[in-house]
């Protein structure tokens, strides 16, 4: 329909009904069946629902669906198609950088955006990029090491 919201989702054309009027997170999870963005707080504080909108990390829980119109959205499901996403997934497996893993899909989104922007980020830059994410299991150090390791792998490639 004419007033549907059209956007790119993980590289493919996608459409949502404008009438819903809700937040992008619920549209992705409940209408489009993409569970990668996780529901954490619904208030944009924890980062579990992070997606890339035109390459920039955004909390899908406080982003109105209408704001996605005309953009390119990448969810954790789509990260594997990018060199940064692949390197990150390999590094996180290699370093076993996860415990409960609830925060991880959002963390990878922010990390991918960082690596796209900064080929060789410093540890401080990594931490600062991840400060939008909360981890309760205490996996912080492994996660930081995994992001740095992915950056090194990409730079050496």
């Amino acid at each position: 329909m004419a007033d549907d919201i059209h956007f790119k989702l993980n590289g493919q054309p996608a459409r949502l009904a404008a009438a819903g009027g809700g937040m992008l997170l619920f549209a992705l999870r409940n209408e489009l069946g993409l569970k990668g963005p996780r529901f954490g707080c619904g208030e944009g504080h924890c980062g579990a629902c992070m997606v890339l909108v035109d390459g920039r990390p955004a909390n899908a829980c406080d982003l109105p669906t209408s704001a996605a119109a005309g953009t390119s959205v990448v969810t954790p499901e789509g990260l594997g198609a990018t060199p940064e996403g692949q390197a990150l997934q390999r590094a996180f497996i290699e370093l076993q950088a996860g415990q409960c893993g609830y925060c991880l899909s959002g963390v990878l989104i922010s990390a991918a955006a960082l690596l796209r922007r900064e080929a060789r980020p410093t540890e401080t830059q990594v931490r600062s990029a991840l400060d939008r994410h909360l981890c309760r299991c205490g996996t912080h150090q492994r996660i930081v090491r995994a992001v740095l390791s992915a950056a090194a792998e990409l730079a050496d490639a």
Binding site: G20, F26, N30, F39, G80, G98, C100, L104, R127
Partner: protein, 698 residues
């Protein structure tokens, strides 16, 4: 392999004695059926490793059946760091029994004793002949009792290495959590509760909520209030409208006072729970008396609680929950609905890490109540962030008073410890049937069952309350608090965090008063070699000379979790430049026989960082009457604040495996306090150790 590490059979093997209750073969795969559940701690992977080790197969061949009341053995709760020591022992025994059955069959075919057989990933060979595990064994064999099967050994093997089985799904955005389960026709539920529920619902006007497009129903039963809708947005809108259009009675609980005077009013008379008086008392040349306090701490799981439920036409209930105990939850649900347990199935599904008793089971009951109200259609209830902070049980506040003296020769002479605390567990299936918010609301009660305090040897408030240091005169007293100003229940390590924080702070104070180095002071008064060795290992790794040397300020602490579990020593280093003030934590751990080196390290690292967050940042502000509603009210450690963590593992292949998920908490809390004392000469006895408190004390 003769299993030197097995010890007595775990209790759950007695309850579920047969091979097939724990393990099976499906084609060329081994299926294990643990009763312990994945809470993000990696236990499922560790159990797969144990089965693979016993069966001499690649761990990739092992599948783990999700825990459910209709297919799994009842191993009660996954708690108290018992998953490896008990759950692991069950799987190890079952896998060893299955190996014995498979090898007995191979012996018959190959005509050679088991000890002479070569086993490679399920292929059993002798003299050029082969038998495969995957040819199977008679179904009847799975009905045999594990204890009746003659052991057939195999050459000793090192535990295989296996990465977390659940990690890939969590890195690729695949469905992995209870929130991601979609049953056909699932509706969206939300509950409407004030903070500090259960409270009486005095007035309700649901007309506005009922106008919400997509609403299926507003559900009010007794004081239980919730909504069911076709979409998640509609459920949220209707719930918000309802919450604005209803009036709740005040909480019947008196808020605690900031100065701790409420504890005086609420405390039971002193109860001596442990004493030893080995020698005629000597005179103490130094006596120190101090009070250490720990505030209420939230579990603060990254995802709020979630429950999914449906009823069938015959009145049977099926529930998905991230509970730590599917069987106790089944019992509680059956009680609430007045139905036999056989008509309820509870299936475990993962959520974010819980670290104890959060809102998981409340949300499960919420889903069951809402589903029943809409004719049994599946309903998923998602608590909001405010629901979780507002109504999850907190880890109890505690106060630990210690009076201790050292004799002239510098040895600890006397120790008197009083532990002030609420009970530490109000878990479902344990109390009088009112452990869940919905259960109380259905019968219009504004009170829940009191938290119980598990007795020693493991203890709740008394966990780690008995010091392990040699002292001739020791008295430990409990002052159980009978009022619960705020809902409390189990939080990772229960009372051990406060007790170890207090004991190890006091040890530091005594060492200082006696003019001794804190490491030497501890080593001198610990007779358990394994205790001494973790202390020495941690000290060696940081290059311990004394608490302040070469411009460094270090704090040291030690505990053996539950006085019977893993040994852990921690050293914290203060750095004024670090955002947290603590730049590094070094831990040494002895958890007996190690199942997974990396899994163990991951648990210790995580436990250490979480404890650093509790110690430096966390206090649920119940004192002002309002509970936190979001992360802004309850900050936890950030990526920029996390200190570095290094873990030294002492593997003891000949000793029983000990759970390690909780052993780091107490030592880290005390090591940090001791490091601040070394750096700034201030002794902070009230947690959290905030910058303001350090400045005020300097």
């Amino acid at each position: 392999m003769p299993d030197v590490a097995a010890g007595p059979p775990p209790a759950y093997l007695t309850r579920h004695p047969r091979v097939g209750q724990w393990i099976g073969i499906d084609g060329d795969r081994i299926i294990i059926k643990p009763g312990k559940v994945e809470l993000g701690q990696g236990v499922v992977t560790a159990l797969a490793i144990i089965a693979a080790e016993e069966l001499r197969v690649r761990p990739e061949r092992v599948s783990v059946l999700p825990t459910a009341t209709d297919t799994s053995p009842n191993e009660d709760y996954t708690s108290g760091s018992f998953s490896i020591s008990q759950g692991g022992a069950s799987i190890r025994a079952a896998a060893a029994a299955l190996r014995s059955l498979l090898l007995a069959r191979a012996e018959g075919v190959l005509g050679a004793p088991a000890a002479d057989l070569e086993i490679v990933d399920g292929d059993v060979a002798h003299g050029g002949q082969h038998v495969s595990y995957w040819d199977g064994i008679d179904d009847e064999a799975f009905g045999l009792a594990i204890s009746d099967i003659p052991a057939r050994g195999a050459p000793a093997a090192k535990p295989p290495s296996l990465g977390r089985l659940d990690l890939a799904a969590k890195l690729t955005g695949a469905p992995a959590f209870i929130q991601d389960l979609d049953l056909p026709g699932t509706l969206f539920g939300r509950t409407v509760r004030p903070p500090a529920a259960p409270r009486r619902l005095e007035r309700l006007d649901d007309r506005r909520a009922r106008l919400t497009p997509g609403l299926v129903d507003v559900v009010r039963t007794g004081d239980f209030l919730g909504v069911v809708a076709e979409t998640e947005e509609a459920a949220i809108r209707a719930a918000v409208a309802l919450s604005q259009d209803c009036v709740w009675a005040a909480s019947p609980h008196e808020p605690p006072t900031q100065d701790g005077a409420w504890m005086e009013r609420a405390a039971s008379p002193p109860e001596v729970v442990y004493e030893r008086h080995d020698a005629a008392p000597r005179n103490s040349v130094k006596v120190i008396s101090a009070v250490y306090r720990k505030p209420y701490i939230a579990h603060a799981s990254i995802a709020p609680s979630c429950g999914l439920a449906r009823w069938d036409a015959a009145g049977a209930l099926e529930v998905w929950s991230h509970t730590q105990g599917v069987f106790p939850l089944r019992r509680e649900l059956a009680g609430v609905f007045g139905m036999p347990e056989s008509a309820v199935v509870v299936r475990h599904a993962e959520n974010a890490g819980c670290y104890g008793h959060n809102g998981a089971e409340d949300a499960a009951l919420d889903a069951a109540i809402l589903s029943r109200a809409v004719g049994g259609r599946p309903v998923r209830v998602q608590w909001s962030r405010a629901d979780e902070f507002g109504n999850e049980p907190y880890g109890p506040a505690m106060q630990v008073q210690i009076e201790a003296g050292v004799a002239e020769d510098g040895a600890i002479n006397s120790w008197r410890q009083e532990v002030w605390s609420n009970g530490h567990t109000a878990r479902p299936g344990r109390g009088q049937g009112l452990s869940l918010l919905g259960a109380a609301e259905l019968v219009q009660s504004d009170r829940l069952d009191d938290a119980l305090d598990p007795p020693l040897p493991y203890g709740g408030s008394l966990r780690n309350a008995i010091p392990l240091y040699e002292a001739p005169d020791v008295t430990v007293i409990r002052r159980l608090l009978t009022q619960t100003p705020v809902r409390v229940s189990a939080l990772r390590s229960l009372g051990a965090f406060a007790n170890v924080f207090a004991i190890e702070s006091m040890i530091d104070e005594l060492a200082l008063a006696a003019g001794q180095d804190p490491l030497a002071f501890r080593l001198r008064q610990l007779s358990d070699d394994r205790a001494r060795q973790v202390l020495e290992a941690a000290a060696e790794r940081v290059g311990w000379v004394t608490r302040e040397a070469d411009g460094r300020a270090l704090g040291l602490a030690f505990a053996r979790y539950k006085n019977s579990g893993a040994y852990c020593a921690a050293v914290a280093e203060v750095s004024g430049d670090h955002p947290l003030g603590i730049s590094s934590l070094v831990l040494a751990v002895d958890a007996g026989r190690v199942v997974s080196q990396d899994g163990l390290r991951n648990q210790i690292e995580g436990g250490a960082i979480q404890a650093a967050s509790w110690t430096m940042k966390e206090m649920a502000p119940v004192y002002d009457g309002g509970r936190p509603s979001g992360w802004a009210d309850y900050p936890i450690l950030s990526f920029s604040e996390a200190p570095s963590v290094e873990v030294v593992v002492i593997d003891r292949p000949q000793a029983p495996s000990l759970g390690a998920g909780e052993c780091a908490a107490g030592p880290v809390g005390a090591a940090i306090a001791n490091a601040f004392a070394a750096a700034y000469g201030v002794r902070i006895r009230d947690l959290p150790i905030t910058r303001e408190r350090v400045l005020a004390a300097s």
